[in-house]
Structure formats: C-alpha cells, structure tokens
Symmetry: none
Subunit: 219 residues, 2 copies
Amino acid sequence: MRALAVEDDPRIAGDLQSALTAAGFRVEVTGDGEDAWFLGDTEDYDLVVLDLGLPSLDGLAVLKRWRANGRTMPVLVLTARGTWQERVEGIEAGADDYLPKPFRMEELIARARALVRRTGGHAAAFQEAGDLSLDTNRMGVAIRGVQVQVTALEYRLLAYLMLHRDRPVPPSELLEHLYGDDDAREANALEAVIARLRRKLGAGIIGTRRGFGYFLEAT
Amino acid sequence: MRALAVEDDPRIAGDLQSALTAAGFRVEVTGDGEDAWFLGDTEDYDLVVLDLGLPSLDGLAVLKRWRANGRTMPVLVLTARGTWQERVEGIEAGADDYLPKPFRMEELIARARALVRRTGGHAAAFQEAGDLSLDTNRMGVAIRGVQVQVTALEYRLLAYLMLHRDRPVPPSELLEHLYGDDDAREANALEAVIARLRRKLGAGIIGTRRGFGYFLEAT
DNA sequence: GGCAACCTGACAGCAAGCTGACACAGCGGG
DNA sequence: CCCGCTGTGTCAGCTTGCTGTCAGGTTGCC
C-alpha cells in the first residue's frame, strides 16, 4: 500500500509520515508542488495526501493536472483555507475527501482508511462540448480549433459550465461560484460577463433556459 | 437516484429534501431512528444522509446495524457534535463522509455528488410515471421519450407531483409549494398552469380527483 | 336546477434576460 | 506622475416570453 504525502511544513510532514507508516502505508513525502505533480503522474499510489498551500505550484493546480491526465488515485486534500467555497472547489477539482487544518492525526488516518477501502476512480474531465474546447492546463479556449482570448473571470465561468455541462446552471449558483456569496454583486454582473463571452465565442455556444440557467450547447 | 435523509429537525429536514431533490435525487425523509434503520435495511438507496442526533435510536447505532447486516450504500453523516473523536468513531462505524453542523447546503450537495460518483452510481436521475419521465438533472421532461419544453414553474409543479405520485396533491399544497404562503395567488393561477401543462403533455398525464387534488396518471 | 369545483382561451403586465455605454480600479510604461 | 490599456461592475433601456387574471364555459354532485 503506497502513499504519497505532499506537505511543505516539515513538522506536519514528519507527523504524516510516521502516522501513515504506523497505519501500514509505505510513505513517500515531498514538499514541492512540481515534484509532487511529477511523482503522482508517473508513479502508482494507493493514496495521496495533498496539502493545498504549497510553494512553487498550488496544490489545487497539481490535483487538476493529475485529473486532466487521467490519474485516478484517491486524493485526500488538506488545507488551512477553510471557507466552504474552497472546499467545494477542491472537491470539484477531483478531491475524494477533504480535511481542514488543524486536524487530528487520528482523524486523518480514519479518513485515509475509509478512502482506500472504497476503490473508486475519477475520470478526467475531458474539456470539450460542441464547438467549444477548454485546455485546463493553459487556461486556453478554442472554438472549432481556433484560439479565442478570454479573461480569467470568463474562463472560470466557462470551466464551471463545462464541469456541469449535463445540466443548466442557475445564475445564483454561478454568482456564488464566481464571487462567493459574502461579497454580493448585482445579478446583472453575470449577465454582462455572459454577453461579453457570447460576443467573443459567437452564437450557439452558451445557451439560456429561461428560469433554469445557462448551459453549453451540445453538438 | 434514490436518497434517504434521516433528520429529526423538521426545518433542516425540509431543506435537505428540497436541496437533494433539486440535485436530482428522489428523496425520502424520516426523523426516527428505528424507521431509518428499517428503511435502510430493506430498501435500496444510492445515498443516505444521516444525522447522528436522533431520538429513539442513535444514528451511529443505526449505521453500525446497517453495516453489520452487509448494507453498503454510501452514508454521509451529519452531526452537531463536532469533536474529532466522534468523527473518527463515525467513520469507523462505516460512514463514507462526514459533515459537521452547521454546514452549507451547497457543500453537502457537492459532497453527496462526489460520494455517489465515487461509488459508481452513474445512473441518470430519471423518474417515471406512466408515459411521463422527468430528468431531474437536466431539468428535462419527456413523453414516451419525446422531449417536451416546459417552463421553470411547470417543471417545479411536475417534480412535486412526481415526488408525491402515490397520492392526489391538493391545490392548497401545490400553491404553497410553488409560491410560498406569504405571497398569495388566486387559486385560478394554479389551474392555468395545469391547463397549459396538459396542452403541452397531452391527455392522460395529469389527472384530477375532484375535491382531493391533482396526480400523475400511473401506467 | 343549482352550486361549487374545475377548465380554458385571451390578454396584459411584468420579470428575466440582453446589450451598449460608461465609470472606475489596477497596472505597466514612459 | 501621468497616460493609456485592460478587465469588470453598474446603469438604463430594451426585448422576450412566462404567467396571473379575467370572463365565460364545462363537469360533477346534491
């Protein structure tokens, strides 16, 4: 049973190593994001414990790159950033479980065991819908193969629609995802973003179902 | 996609029901431990949301009895008792995920989805009654497989009738569900919606039991 | 027959959504 | 510092189509 622990704080990393070892894992530890990405991409682990607050490359980005490459090992995410949006974000990036810091080592082990007990996998999100394609690594957008320049906000909106392309996404949910509900925006802000995107992407990409929400037009 | 929500606080239970329904689950709710144990033991659910603080029979005991009987459905545990020992206890009793109260409904849904995805329950969230089928994920409606375009209000009405398809639903209840009781509508508003729906769906879908209410015609 | 529950077509009001213009903040360069 | 540039939120006015109301009809029940 191999486990990879990605954690830059050496004290916590040490604790992780001993606790996981005691729980019967063969543990490797790294504190560097790039390094973690490479290991997770090339080696086979039964479990990854991933801290989100990393230098050099963000944990969430590492996770997304793994999933984009079709890596399906169970990932338990650790983070100090405890707001609920970030938890949801983490889960949507492909995390299988989530543990806010500070945590008890006993709880982590219990969760790790539960995670390994279920041998489920995640399919990488293939980022294509109709004429639109998203490149999650480069944050690039293309229509029928032609690159289109979009802003960060626009990209996040597209990525969210892509992730939920099987259903219409209500404006309230999009607002919450893009801004978080504490800092409120006029509902119109979203409509403005949609309008700008439609102008860039052309018609027939983003559809509206009045009363339900927005969606990516399928083929 | 069937879900069982075990929660004794009626307000939270109501929130759970609507959130899970909106997320595409067919939801049953109970507030009693014995009842929950019986349902979980005899019915097949794709997801159970279990509150630990129950009267009559403790949630943890319910969970243990399910697992002892070989029931393997994914269980998401809710609890106000947030100490880490209890979390560990819950996970070791066989919970698949854990959410401390108070929580965000959005987070619960995200976790529930992740849980179901993980356990391989990829079946579409379809509900059928006679010739009518609802796709609760896409918010789509079809008659004998043919897609029909309905508005948000019409869809909510259909979904509610579907949820309670075992009985006629009185107009007063429908009015309350669709509009809330604070902002009152003429009773006729409901009749108008029903009429429009019948025109779209054709005859033999929505029935009337004079004096009792509306219902979906079974096969 | 008479009453109440329920149905339905027409229509106007209204809210959801669209769009172009503008303001403003942040940022980098001269 | 100033200037221009870019990204984004706000505003106002517009379009669209949903939906509540009304008026009159139909059905079922006593």
